[in-house]
Symmetry: C2
Subunit: 197 residues, 2 copies
């Protein structure tokens, strides 16, 4: 395939994914019809079906991208050296971390993905795999904090990781569903609760 055509094809695919994300973030998966999608993509049905077999495949591709992006961005954030004190890191995930990282559209789609994954086994597998990857990543961090003495010697890194990820998920949920777009109160609350007393 000539190079220009591959580039064109990649660009078209990205255009489809972006338009799908916009539609789904605004209206959810079910209330968005193929016609809504094609209108937003400014494409004919024929052009769309060259890239995806239908709405379900598009949803899966968008979910994969959103889950991967969130995991990659969190991994990059957690890789900072030197490691800040634990309360700063956790507060930072919500503040400096997630807010600019996970754009509002991706995050709104993530809410839809979470809900939809409860009835779509394929999606559920993907979401759970992303969660397990993230859990391993955060557990490694917790191990380092334990070595540094910022967590007690008998701290269970996996258990701590689960609670840490719970905080992040709760933060995303409050931003999407409750419309709390200022990260400051959440960040302050996390720092207060987690600081040595």
């Amino acid at each position: 395939m000539p190079r220009v055509s591959q580039e064109h094809s990649d660009a078209r695919r990205r255009q489809i994914l972006a338009a799908g994300r916009r539609c789904f973030a605004a209206n959810g998966f079910h209330a968005t019809s193929m016609q809504d999608l094609l209108r937003e993509m400014n494409l004919s049905a024929g052009a769309f079906y060259r890239y995806f077999s239908g709405k379900d495949e598009l949803i899966n591709a968008i979910a994969e991208e959103a889950v991967d992006q969130a995991a990659d961005d969190l991994a990059a954030f957690f890789a900072q050296e030197p490691l800040p004190p634990l309360p700063d890191l956790l507060a930072g995930v919500a503040g400096a971390g997630i807010t600019p990282m996970v754009d509002r559209e991706t995050q709104d789609v993530l809410m839809q993905i979470w809900a939809e994954s409860m009835r779509a086994p394929e999606l559920r597998k993907r979401v759970q795999a992303g969660f397990v990857t993230l859990l391993g990543l955060v557990a490694d961090l917790m191990r380092r904090y334990r070595e540094r003495g910022e967590l007690p010697p008998d701290a269970d890194p996996d258990a701590c990781a689960q609670a840490v990820i719970g905080l992040i998920q709760g933060y995303l949920l409050q931003r999407s569903v409750m419309g709390l777009h200022d990260p400051e109160p959440f960040v302050t609350g996390v720092r207060t609760l987690l600081s040595p007393r």
Copy 2:
């Protein structure tokens, strides 16, 4: 209206709500048709429409009930006297607290409600009002912990409450979406992170 008829009417309404919750928890709001609902309710369309104007009104009624129930149960849990140490209370919300309190069906419906509320303004208003009530309740608790010296004198009760509720929401999400039904690791993690170090 004669008393027996009112009782019958209340029972029928409860039966409709319960069947709706089962359907929606399993399949979400959109993939559940009126026919699915009537089959699960074992009712004729005519009987159903004496109670609700349609699927949307049923969804709103179920959402209202789920949000109210979660708020009431959390309020009862937070009202325990004497107040336990802060890490115990927070760990307890996930462990002894939420697990038996919020049954799995209500919780699965809650996930659907959260996602759906992003596109349904009426539902969104209800969900956000429930969140604000809960926030006030938890902020009052945080004030008491501050008075007891378990939080620093300059702790912001509202900010702490937001982080605490984030933890609870993250826990519910992990239970519904990630299928983590054993509360122990999360509880242990919360207790470790929040204990004085």
